[in-house]
Amino acid sequence: MFSLSLCFQVDNSSLTGESEPQSRSPDNTHDNPLETRNVAFFSTNCVEGTARGIVICTGDHTVMGRIATLTSGLETGKTPIAKEIEHFIHIITGVAVFLGVTFFILAIVLGYSWLEAVIFLIGIIVANVPEGLLATVTVCLTLTAKRMAKKNCLVKNLEAVETLGSTSTICSDKTGTLTQNRMTVAHMWFDNQIHEADTTEDQSGASFDKSSVTWLSLARVAGLCNRAQFKAGQDALPILKRDVAGDASESALLKCIELCCGSVRANRDRNKKVAEIPFNSTNKYQLSIHETEDTNDNRYLLVMKGAPERILDCCSTIMVQGKEQPMDEELKESFQNAYMELGGLGERVLGFCHTMLAEDQYPKGFAFDTDDVNFQTDQLCFIGLMSMIDPPRAAVPDAVGKCRSAGIKVIMVTGDHPITAKAIAKGVGIISEGNETVEDIAARLNIPVSQVNPRDAKACVIHGTDLKDLSQDQMDDILRNHTEIVFARTSPQQKLIIVEGCQRLGAIVAVTGDGVNDSPALKKADIGVAMGISGSDVSKQAADMILLDDNFASIVTGVEEGRLIFDNLKKSIAYTLTSNIPEITPFLLFICANIPLPLGTITILCIDLGTDMVPAISLAYETAESDIMKRQPRNPFRDKLVNERLISIAYGQIGMIQAVAGFFAYFVILAENGFLPSKLVGIRLNWDDRSVNDLEDSYGQQWTYEQRKIVEFTCHTAFFVSIVVVQWADVIICKTRRNSVFQQGMRNKILIFGLFEETALAAFLSYCPGMDVALRMYPLKPSWWFCAFPYSFLIFVYDEVRKLLLRRNPGGWVERETYY
């Protein structure tokens, strides 16, 4: 809090986002401590002047400290993908427990002892668990995170990779995120016309007509009546990247003039400064007197800049096309119109004027007194206006457009002025052409604001002070009914309230920001995105994702990758779950039909943790089936990762065919060895009995325990190989959910690699010498590999036909029941 200040100005951009320096004075102008003039804040910068004051708060009690406490006190909820995986685990557990309990009861009914029944129960529940799935999901997310890192999007939290894909609302900060956070000259008014300047970061925009003499005078005044200068040793750097000593507006003018008219320093050296009156808030202008470069002319040049209305008052003539003309009403009118228009664009406008002081009154060597003004400051010649704005970043309008077409709502939340906020929102596309706020409609129809039907206004701009008075229902109402919203003059606490409001409506919210004032919102959001280069460390810490090159367009990349990985995880889970049925059914039939065990535990693990891993992970490399950026964001309540339809396909349809394939191979091998299927039913007790060494088969041959077991383990190996063979078909059909495989193509090389490796591993496990002792897996005769081929082909044909029906009848029964 200040007791004394002298031309003291602070830059509050790290706290409120305002790029304009604010002047501070000892007067209490406002009740709100953030608005009043006699308080300065911890972590803001002083840009000019001196002041003396007393410290009123320290540490956690400062505004900054309170934001920090707010941020660290927030608990982050679960990410959407974590919720989906939890839901999926519930489904799997449900099925496992159901099967387990059913067969437990069945086992009891069939006469097994309690202990045996409990062992069966445990065995079935364990067989239901897809062991390799956790590794697969983690690897898929990691691959996506790596891909995003290549595009300069650093993801700090692995699950956040998918969250952007589910996002339905983006709340974006303005200063530094949507804008470049440097004041730039945007428009000029001279010769009775508004000219546009180039505000792009790399000077790629259109240039204006510089031929007019008025422009030369204007440039001269702007360059001379200016105390900013480039810091030393930067001649090699491009002009826009150089550091400037001076305030924001003067730096903007300096850079603009340097770009258009060449070295300002040289110009200043040629026109030496003799006296100056610096800017002060009472006069609202700045004035300096120079010697002209023309050595024959001994007159002094007086140049002046400041608030346009003050400058106009001091002027009696105006320069048009290089010639001085007396000021008339018409010109004053057009001046007013230009000023209104530029002000309405949210830009900061400055007026410029000059005059040549008459030689007789002010001869060479005249002592100009700046404290007690002894020279003329009226009857000057008005030249023109220049207006400045913090321009939007180049990639932002495009990115906002793409987010819009992807169905994502973009809201601007800033601490800056409503008018500037609205102007930038229009420039960026958050408020699109043709959409009006209630104030716009009122102005257009010339009726008071209260008479405008709120339903007509699709856009709205809400001030922070109004936000305080809104109840939760009113807030929900606004968020629901307006598609384009701008919140201005919001405090960090209010940003948090806005994010909570959106989340209450069921949206998944992304917040982008760069300053300390954004950090509570960044933490509370489902995903927080911070700027990497210009962001503060606090915001980078609170965020889940960092844009390493400050490119807002990377958010579009994030959305695309997020949606893609969600689809690919579905395919991967469908693939992995399918092999559960051919793993469980042998056990069930073993219990119920008393046949020798068709598939052992070690072979189950060889499938889940061995051969199925690479194909499941390879599905993460699949390309998108249709344009994912044209879809609406998924509804977190209805569009689940794993739903009943996926389970129905995986367990009920494809899984069953796979189980039949395995049993076919099993029966073929036993039949070739002499045990016809009819002989097998009920043989279990004798088969597993070590003491029975003369078990007779269908042909009367007698088998010892060891001989029988070798055949049984050969059957296990064959069942395992059959699962591998049908999983070839499964991975090919899981590649696509809607398109035919012929449309999608086999360009996923990792998938083909997976197929080769899977088969190589299966062959290795079967044929390697020593496997019969180590894992009890025996070499298979070549003909037995082909047992499962017809079923594999059947799976492929079945699913292609299903997808064909799905494409031909959108919305039909096939789609409703089987499209996952």
Partner: protein, 93 residues
């Protein structure tokens, strides 16, 4: 005399019958026995070698596929990807 023959024959038979693996190779001088047993003989050694060669070939092929940047030559009838699922005509089998 008969007892001696029986004992000799029995001692020949015992180790053969007690073999742990399912291949009952009866080392009999009689050709008839050999013919009866031939359906039960299978060359597992060649099978193992053949199988292992197959596994190694596939493995190496997979690695080569990943390492080279060219399009794979064993892909399944690749066709240009349809731009839009609504306009694509499903290719009937």
């Amino acid at each position: 005399m008969d007892l001696v023959t029986l004992v000799v024959f029995g001692s020949w038979l015992a180790p053969a019958l007690g073999s742990a693996f399912g291949r009952e190779v009866i080392a009999s001088a009689e050709n008839a026995d050999k013919d009866y047993d031939s359906p039960f003989e299978y060359d597992y050694e060649s099978l193992r070698i053949g199988g292992l060669v197959f596994a190694v070939v596939l493995f190496v092929l997979g690695i080569v596929l990943i390492v080279t940047k060219k399009c794979s030559c064993s892909s399944d009838k690749p066709r240009p990807k349809a731009p839009d699922e609504e306009t694509a005509v499903p290719i009937a089998q």
